[in-house]
Amino acid sequence: MEPLIKIDNLKTRFHTEDGIVKAVNGISYSMDPGEVLGVVGESGCGKSVHALSIMRLIQIPPGEIESGEIWFDGQDLLKLSNKEIRQIRGRDIAMVFQDPMSSLNPVYTVGLQIMEAIMLHKDMNKKEARERAAELLTLVGIPEANKRLDNYPHQFSGGMRQRAMIAMALSCDPKLLIADEPTTALDVTIQAQIIDLVVKLQEELGMAVMWITHDLGIIAEMVHKINVMYAGFIIERGNAMDIFNRTRHPYTMGLLGSLPRIDEAPGTKLTSIPGLPPDLVNLPEGCPFYARCTYREDHCKHERPLLEATESNEHLVACWRWQEINGEGAK
């Protein structure tokens, strides 16, 4: 099967007063049509920047996509003109952002904001676009959609705003939906509603979904593949069973150990990862996780491990000592 999107050696940098921030450091992977990919990592690991690079939403300057290719639909997104990328952005690739409070414009009605995207990308007049917008709001589970179209964002609750954002993203039947921490600002019962909605829509509409999050728990049950990122690198990649039950990277192990589980036995101690993530301006020469790693050896400090296949070709890990690590992280 031809991949939907293929990213090759993507490097994104930001030029700041303190030096060059190396946010994304050469990542390569591909996604199939209809695949659900989870991208996991802590703040500053480059998970959002890499998504914004795909959408070409990095502000240049101070940002710069230093190298790489992003192949989508037979063309390299990084070589397209601004006009050409605007045709793809919002139509073929759509994005849902973290904060539903600030990503809607407060002075326009919700309906108008959804219709705007439809009229921009589809050959529809105002009346048809409004019908489509009402259809979309119903699809994402907002009752009385026709009436709700004339509401302003402040009349929506947080969960409803995120639903409206999803409706907007779905308006042109995208092939790829990028969801950047869409539930982080929401309460746990509302979060469950949104996850349920996206899973249902993905099955119904067959689009590919990239779900970016810092919470490993959220993606455990819904994704086909997971990329674990650290300091701008993908350090482990595999399916959910690989990442949770056959963990091979010390960072992924640490991340799983730091998460308390609702079903844990009494007296369980969290195994925290000591120290802090590295400074992205002065990236260490060797393994980026060296300073915090419990498996480190001298040569890890100087030689950077590359992603390599483990027993399975689908499970990749960037660690010199992965063979000695077989964590049942989730157990």
Binding site: D187, I195, D196, G217, N245, P266, S272, L276
Partner: protein, 331 residues
């Protein structure tokens, strides 16, 4: 659990309404935000009582009212058998050094113009008559206690990472050797791997110093991890109170059941087998909570009775309190 539990704090029928005024010339009191509406519970010496609930359920208000940062509208708060609601300001100050608070945002709760040393010794200035030398020694001791380098006394908050700042906040709270520490979402603004560090530190300090915690958070798995007993709040009222195991294994209130099932588990095997209860709709506004049971708008088992009369908050089995008409004692 030991048999002889000593009560440190007793909260009896606590009510905190925030008045809403309207009008420019005649400023009329039109209604109240019922932030905390008739809440009673005990905190035992040496335990961690977890307080969970969604946004706007009144959990932070409960914490702040216990410390008398807000004056309660009515009700009693007994701290070591002293009724705080009857005390004058200067008498209150004498009790205050026995209860301290750790705040949510480690960026906003430290004065950027004060050095770490002066931040931590501020409570000592107010509550003790230590000499300068004694204060310096105490600050050094506290920095070591929370795992920071004692040489950092002359640095400013901006030189520290989020996790380190939260440690400074903890050191400040512990400066006057309090009995009770109210932790108001102390980890929610930190990254996963740093959260575990701070939680482990809090547990360690509790063992070492015999502290009592009121731990307020919305992250259920983290609260369950750290707590001995848990309180679940919804719209200003307590829905259920029980020890950490009963509340997870045998929740009696439909809201607790939904809340527990909505928590993601980082285990693909288990989470796909779990039955999720997805609540419909949003939390009503505390300005006009519904008639009858507060939860009736979203409850999957609500009947006419729930819309007419408010369920009594009662002890269904030993140390297991619940407010639901249909809760049955477990077999």
């Amino acid at each position: 659990m030991n048999v002889e539990k000593q009560t440190l704090v007793q909260v009896k029928n606590l009510i905190k309404y925030f008045p809403v005024y309207q009008g420019i010339i005649i400023n009329r009191h039109v209604k109240d935000v019922k932030a905390v509406d008739d809440v009673s519970f005990d905190i035992y010496k040496g335990e961690t009582l977890g307080l969970v609930g969604e946004t706007g359920c009144g959990k932070t208000t409960v914490g702040r009212t216990i410390l008398h940062l807000y004056k309660p509208t009515s009700g009693q708060i007994l701290f070591d058998n002293i009724d705080l609601t009857l005390l004058q300001e200067n008498e209150l100050r004498k009790v205050r050094n026995r209860m301290q608070m750790i705040f949510q945002d480690p960026y906003a709760s430290l004065n950027p113009r004060m050095t770490v040393g002066s931040i931590i010794s501020a409570p000592l200035d107010v509550h003790t008559s230590f000499t300068r030398k004694e204060k310096q020694d105490r600050v050094q001791e506290l920095l070591k206690l929370v795992g920071l380098n004692p040489d950092f006394v002359n640095r400013y908050p901006h030189e520290f990472s989020g996790g380190q700042r939260q440690r400074i906040g903890i050191a400040r709270a512990l400066a006057v050797s309090p009995d009770l520490v109210v932790c108001d979402e102390p980890i929610s603004s930190l990254d996963v791997s740093i959260q575990a560090q701070v939680v482990n530190l809090l547990e360690e300090l509790q063992n070492k110093l015999g502290l009592t915690y009121l731990f307020i958070a919305h992250d259920l798995s983290m609260v369950r991890h750290i707590s001995d007993r848990m309180v679940v709040m919804y719209l200003g009222k307590i829905m259920e109170l029980a020890d950490r195991n009963s509340i997870y294994l045998r929740p009696l209130h439909p809201y607790t059941k939904a809340l527990m099932s909505a928590v993601p588990i980082p285990d693909p095997d288990l989470s796909s087998r779990r039955d999720r209860i997805i609540l419909k709709g949003d939390i009503p506004s505390p300005l006009n909570p519904p008639e009858g049971c507060n939860f009736n708008t979203r409850c999957p088992i609500a009947t006419d009775l729930c819309f007419q009369s408010e369920p009594e908050y009662r002890e269904l089995e030993a140390d297991h309190f619940v407010a639901c008409h249909f809760a049955q004692p477990p077999q």
